[in-house]
Symmetry: C2
């Protein structure tokens, strides 16, 4: 299976996962522009993007308005069902406990993320919610996809915010 069907500069190619993560990164950039912590997510189903969202916690304002949760809610609306079997969620940063729990609750088949969140991540860092055998579902996980870019936008955001706080 050829996963390298799009050129990324000279002599480099993007895998299918890297291409879809590009759309999640575009969502993260929208969050950055709005002054929100820059995390973006998209959901893929049968080769179609059925949901795209970014963090809107401050904008709405709502504590649950994380990119992943908003994308899962949009995907449920679009598929007219709460089970997201057959779907892949691409998100720029490792999900928090709320979003990892939502991935299990929605029976999402696959999760792909870029950067780990060593402090609060709930897939491999602080908790491992999506693989726990006591829960009703376990997702297949791929990590580190376009990690540097997913990390960089977060670093840029917090550096900028610190500058504004201390100027």
């Amino acid at each position: 299976m050829n996963h390298t069907n799009k050129q990324k500069g000279k002599n480099t190619f993007m895998t299918i996962d890297e291409q879809y993560m590009d759309l999640a990164l575009e969502e993260a950039k929208k969050a950055y522009t709005s002054g929100e912590i820059p995390i973006g997510a998209v959901i893929l189903y049968k080769n179609n993007i059925i949901a795209a969202a970014h963090n809107l916690r401050e904008t709405i304002p709502c504590a649950t308005a994380h990119a992943e949760l908003l994308a899962i809610q949009e995907a449920c609306r679009n598929l007219h069902r709460w089970r997201l079997t057959g779907c892949t969620l691409y998100v720029t940063v490792e999900p928090c406990p709320m979003c990892a729990g939502a991935i299990v609750n929605s029976r999402l088949t696959r999760l792909v993320y870029g950067s780990s969140d060593y402090k609060a991540g709930a897939v491999e860092s602080l908790f491992n919610i999506v693989h726990n055998k006591s829960l009703n579902h376990q997702a297949v996980v791929t990590t580190g996809v376009r990690m540097e870019e997913c990390q960089q936008i977060m670093k840029d955001f917090f550096r900028e915010r610190r500058k504004q706080l201390y100027k």
Copy 2:
């Protein structure tokens, strides 16, 4: 402090927490009537109920439409802020990882619940998300409030469902 200001039958009194749990139980009954897993929640802020919700996963349909998450979203709308500092969430059953994560994300001050969920509860059973010191917030927790009634409505629901499945 006198927590016993409402009579519950002969020679029994309800604490303040038991009274508010009554409203969460009323929500759970609405879920039961709609064929949803009967879990209800209310949020109290400065002696006012600012949100009341029940599980609507099948009705909407949406994987994130748990009672607690819907109540947190409603409380954020009503207070026009994502921080629910000063609020108490009453819920009939121990929150799942998604809802426990939402409690932390919303900085809810206090959580009161009735029945434990030994399989998937994320407060004391499977995970302990709301007390984890690595996260940005820890909630104060009271458990076992009107536990028998909170358990009974769940037992009745699943007994009824099994009957319908095997008749």
